[in-house]
């Protein structure tokens, strides 16, 4: 394998209309190292790397490669010199196999593909890398962690020597993340590749990166060796003068855990996935009032189907759900009467009408009731707008314009808007899935604070998350989901990361 290359970014500036996304950023990325690019949403990280890869053209500034000035007019130019990027969303073709994806990624594909020779080539390439993947599986059947591995493999197969990774672990479990980043770090140490990764997970920076650069509002505000900086230093560089919301304490439970206080009882619940295969296998689970139960697990083990069944988006194939001791079939009437609310993953897709305004989306739960509606059918636009303004102010949704279509908001703001809607005063059972996915450090703290406050008020919270740290921080009780079953349960006091990790992998 060829050796790693380094780049120098000098005085790079990029404007989008009046917005200065990058402001004279100068950064040296030395070869054979893992570099982290830290910053909050909108700090300019993505803009910077997109200028490097040639996706955007910088307004000012230069890029040097081994001392030579280079112009990247398109990603093709960057690919030609060995710079590749793994995007946050997957760029694999879902209905093609891993092998087909790898072959098609090449710059020139022969007219007739000799699969035997291609397989030999891929196999010998795979032997040189520490990734194990099944070549004949269609990509759509792979778990997120495997897809991410294939994305990286694709870059290595194309002999890219400078890898840019845009939040490479945002969809991975800690175990998967450690595996992928560990492999990349080893390859960098060997001098095979240089890695520049965008992230806001400080844990990964301290564990895997050697150099870190911090961006804030388009400016480079800090840089250094990771060994010289602790997590606190890096966090304060990212946040600047703003303050994090103070964390809430986990109060002693407001209610004694008696049977009458059982918020959610799931009895033998089964459900099928979209392809008709069994996804949930006789799940039994109880969430008491004033308790957060965290469901840990690698994505694709039935968590999505569980949340969808509770949210009324999927029919159960067996078993039953009780809320406050009464049968619950996820009808709108029951949700309103029993106070069941849900923040699903990818809220823009699963809990919003993208083309409708922020105000309309905020009213989706209550638009047919007083005070937003007159006699349950005439919408009172004024009341809806006023309610939206209050929620926007309270949850700091930006931009603060109720009439904006919600699809034009950033991911973090959509998340806050849905959370504002779902954390209504009447909530007694809250189902949340990956609530902090893709949020910046301040937003994460806000969301977690809101969940703990709800718990302290006596709400039953079912938290499904692929982020183990989040589960350990918030839960009163941790259960592990594997292959559609709950395979392990422990109170938080006895939770052992190693045991949970093993159970998540099915051992």
């Amino acid at each position: 394998m060829s050796s790693a290359i380094g780049i120098d970014i000098v005085g790079m500036t990029k404007r989008f209309g009046p917005l200065v996304a990058l402001d004279h950023v100068t950064l040296k990325v030395a070869p054979g190292r893992v570099h982290a690019l830290l910053g909050e949403n909108g700090a300019g990280k993505s803009t910077l790397v997109k200028c490097v890869i040639g996706y955007y053209q910088a307004d000012q500034g230069d890029l040097f490669l081994a001392g030579q000035r280079r112009k990247m007019l398109s990603p093709r130019d960057a690919h030609a010199v060995g710079i590749g990027m793994v995007y946050q969303h997957f760029t694999l073709v879902p209905n093609m196999t891993v092998a087909e994806n790898l072959v098609m990624a090449r710059a020139s594909v022969p007219f007739k593909i000799n699969w035997r020779r291609e397989r030999e080539k891929i196999d010998s390439f795979l032997q040189k890398t520490p990734f194990g993947v099944r070549l004949d599986d269609p990509v759509t059947d792979l778990a997120a962690g495997e897809k991410q591995k294939v994305e990286i493999l694709k870059q290595l197969y194309l002999e890219r020597r400078f890898l840019i990774l845009d939040e490479p672990t945002s969809v991975l479990t800690p175990g998967e993340a450690d595996e992928v980043l560990g492999i990349l770090k080893d390859m960098a140490t060997n001098g095979d590749i240089t890695v520049l990764m965008i992230t806001h997970k400080l844990r990964e920076v301290s564990a895997f990166a050697e150099r870190v650069a911090v961006l804030r509002s388009g400016r480079l505000v800090g840089e250094g060796d990771v060994s010289d900086l602790d997590v606190h230093d890096m966090a304060s560089m990212m946040i600047g003068s703003r303050t994090l919301p103070t964390p809430v304490d986990r109060e002693a439970r407001a209610f004694p855990p008696t049977t009458s206080r059982q918020g959610l009882q799931i009895r033998g619940l089964s459900a099928d996935d979209d392809a008709g295969a069994k996804a949930l296998r006789e799940v039994d689970l109880t969430v008491q009032a004033g308790e957060i139960v965290g469901i840990a697990g690698v994505s694709g083990n039935g968590q999505r189907e569980l949340v969808e069944t509770l949210a009324g988006q999927r029919n159960a194939s067996g078993g039953k759900i009780l809320v406050h001791g009464e049968t619950y079939q996820a009808t709108r009437r029951e949700m309103a009467a029993k106070g069941v609310f849900c923040l699903p993953e990818e809220p823009l897709r699963n809990a919003c009408v993208p083309a409708m305004s922020v105000a309309e989306n905020l009213s989706l739960r209550a638009f047919d009731r007083r005070p937003l509606a007159w006699r349950q059918w005439w919408l009172r636009k004024g009341a809806i707008r006023q309610m939206a303004r209050q929620q926007i102010a309270r949850y700091n949704i930006k931009p603060p314009i109720p009439e904006m279509p919600i699809a034009s908001l950033s991911g973090g703001n959509v998340q806050r808007a849905v959370l504002a809607r779902e954390l209504a005063p009447e909530v007694t059972l809250l189902v949340v899935a990956n609530p902090c996915f893709g949020l910046d450090i301040v937003a994460v703290a806000e969301v977690r604070r809101a969940l703990l406050e709800a718990r302290n008020r006596g709400v039953s919270v079912l938290l499904v998350s692929e982020d183990l740290d989040e589960i350990l921080e918030l839960s009163d009780r941790v259960v592990v989901m594997f292959n559609g079953k709950l395979v392990y349960e422990t109170p938080i006091e006895d939770a052992d990361l190693a045991v949970i990790g093993r159970r998540m992998a099915g051992h």
């Binding site: 073709v93 879902p94 093609m96 594909v109 979209d274 008709g276």
Partner: protein
């Protein structure tokens, strides 16, 4: 002349023969549509292309005396319509379904207008291969008289299957149908891929049309197609975008279409029109039984506007 009667055995034989005869246009249109849909676009205009192919093929065969030239011209009229669909759909914010319906109406309209002078005259037909020479029965010989176009269609099936797996073009088409983003990232032009796929699909549909007018039923009139082009599009969904299943489905539809005439031949004339509706009933029944609200369609190209 001595006739060897087959009696009731004539019904399955006639259905088989009908399946082969009637299925040919289904086969060509569905293979063409399969190719187009695999690239990520739906061309509902193939009904119009089919009628246009039937008319132009018949006209050229009549004027030049060469039915094969007719087939080629029918194919080229299909390319024209496919390319028109592909070009219009390349423009921003154009819906392929709406364009397809417009081209369906346009194609049939132009064909009826230009085809008026060719309703009466007799054109030369396509040749057939006599595979029933060994039999004394006229019925068997008729049943096994197989047109060359059907055989070409049969060869096309494995060829398409193989190409989708083993050639650059095949993989590029599948890629464009499955992830436009990935295709663009690899430096291919999604528009061009879809334009070419739609044009090639149009060619096959045009050839299918030529079969209608130049072999079976073997004349040009305005009621020739009666929606076969549209049914072939539905057939592609039923076949889950797989050329081999397109073939089986075409045979099934062809057999259903032959049910009425086959029963008529043994003297069952009651409900003749009801039996003729068999393919349409079959379309509905198959769609109901193979679809499920709990499952997504497996194998559907992700870029299709109906699956997105």
């Amino acid at each position: 002349m001595e006739e060897v009667g087959l009696g009731w055995w004539g019904v399955p034989l006639a259905i088989l023969a009908g399946a082969i005869r009637v299925s040919t246009p289904f086969l060509f249109v569905s293979l063409g549509e399969c190719l187009t849909e695999r690239s990520g676009r739906i061309n509902l205009g193939l009904e119009g292309t089919l009628v246009m192919g039937a008319m132009s093929g018949y006209a050229v065969s009549y004027l030049t005396g060469s039915p094969w030239l007719g087939v080629v011209v029918a194919g080229f009229s299909g390319i024209l319509f496919g390319a028109l669909h592909g070009t219009i759909c390349s423009l921003p914010k154009v819906n392929d379904i709406a364009v397809g319906i417009a081209l369906m109406v346009l194609g049939t309209g132009i064909a009826f207008f230009l085809g008026k002078p060719f309703i009466q005259p007799k054109a030369l037909h396509l040749p057939a291969i006599e595979l029933g020479w060994w039999s004394a029965s006229e019925q068997v010989r008729t049943a096994l008289r197989i047109n060359v176009l059907f055989l070409i269609g049969v060869v096309l099936v494995p060829a398409l299957l193989w190409s989708f797996k083993n050639t650059r073009w095949g993989l590029v088409v599948r890629m464009a149908g499955d992830s436009a983003d990935a295709t663009l990232a690899m430096g291919y032009s999604v528009r061009l891929i879809r334009l070419v796929s739609t044009a090639c699909g149009g060619f096959l549909a045009g050839v299918g049309g030529a079969f209608l007018s130049l072999y079976y039923p073997g004349s040009w009139n305005e009621g020739l197609s009666s929606g076969q082009g549209l049914m072939a599009v539905a057939l592609v969904i039923f076949a889950r975008w797989n050329p081999a299943r397109c073939f089986y489905a075409s045979l099934l539809f062809g057999g259903a279409g032959a049910l009425g005439p086959a029963l008529q031949s043994v003297g069952i004339t009651a409900s003749y029109y009801l039996f003729n509706a068999a393919p349409y009933v079959l379309t509905l029944a198959i769609m109901i039984f193979t679809s499920s609200p709990h499952r997504t369609l497996a194998g559907a190209p992700s870029e299709l506007s109906v699956t997105k």
